[in-house]
Amino acid sequence: MLLKRLRLRGFKSFADKTDIEFAPGINVVVGPNGSGKSNVVDSLSWVMGTQVVRQLRGAKMEDVIFAGTPKRQPLGRAEVELVIDNSSGQIPVDLVELSFGRVLYRSGESRYSLNGQSSRLVDVVELLSDAGVGRTMHNIVGQGRIDAVLAASPQERRLVIEEAA
């Protein structure tokens, strides 16, 4: 399984539709302070089902919707789509490509989709865990979070191994 393409629209500082085509191997993201690099990381954990707003640095989930700049009006929804290449068959479905989607409206309504069809969070999470991406997403290390591994309790460290097992 490989990440193929990430599409953002109205997610945090990404007002306009933005596509990122990932390559196998090492993909390096660079840019000035405040340009939106960590927002890309947040969009990956969001589309994969993160429910904890604090992990996205917000106070309420609505904080992920583009809130405007002096030159741009705020938008009414945040959308992220992640297309995964499943030609290795790691995810046990009969599809070469899978696309996960998540939309949030200012009203608070939130939707998940799988290959364009509306689906439930639990379906998304289950498919991802078949692919080796657990609920605690230890494969995503956010900015400033590397030290948390050492600062964590011994039990929390066990959970990391258990999850991955």
Binding site: T18, K71, I161
Partner: protein, 157 residues
């Protein structure tokens, strides 16, 4: 279930010792299980002894030593139970030049069998890339992404 945990712990601690020796040449790292008779509730202790030093409590380690020990732990889990992709956001900020090189060598190795997305301001890390994405702010204050397929384009951070 217990079988699964036993082998996951065992493999993770073997990888941890090996990775620690790579990141701290001459040092010694060990994972220990606090309650081996109760695997479902046990904790995992990390012992880290940089080269030329005696073993002390983890909190006395320096900023860079803590980062390297945490990287050794995470990458040990990744090795024992691989995930299809990894996302790392400025994890190497506290490292000095020498340790940054060691981290980059490890990153290159991982990049051969897994997809890694890494945010960084460090030039040596940028040089490990197959593809570099430059994120910037447009005139209107919103984020834009440009991608550079060829490694040889230097991107100013």
């Amino acid at each position: 279930v217990e079988e699964m945990l036993v082998s996951a712990y065992a493999e993770t601690s073997t990888h941890f010792a090996a990775l620690f020796a790579v990141l701290f040449p001459g040092g010694e790292g060990r994972l220990t299980i606090t309650e081996p008779e109760n695997l479902l509730e046990t904790g995992i202790e990390i012992e880290a002894r940089p080269s030329g030093k005696s073993l002390k409590r983890l909190s006395l380690l320096s900023g860079g030593e803590r980062t390297l020990s945490a990287i050794a732990f995470l990458f040990a889990v990744f090795r024992a139970r691989p995930s299809p992709f990894y996302v790392l956001d400025e994890v190497e900020a506290a490292l000095d030049d020498r340790n940054l090189q060691r981290f980059c060598n490890l990153l290159r190795e991982f990049g051969q069998n897994a997809q890694v997305i890494i945010v960084t301001h460090q030039k040596p890390t940028m040089e490990t890339a197959e593809v570099i994405y430059g994120v910037s702010l447009g005139e209107d204050g919103t984020s834009l992404v440009l991608s550079h397929r060829l490694k040889d384009i230097g991107v100013e951070s």
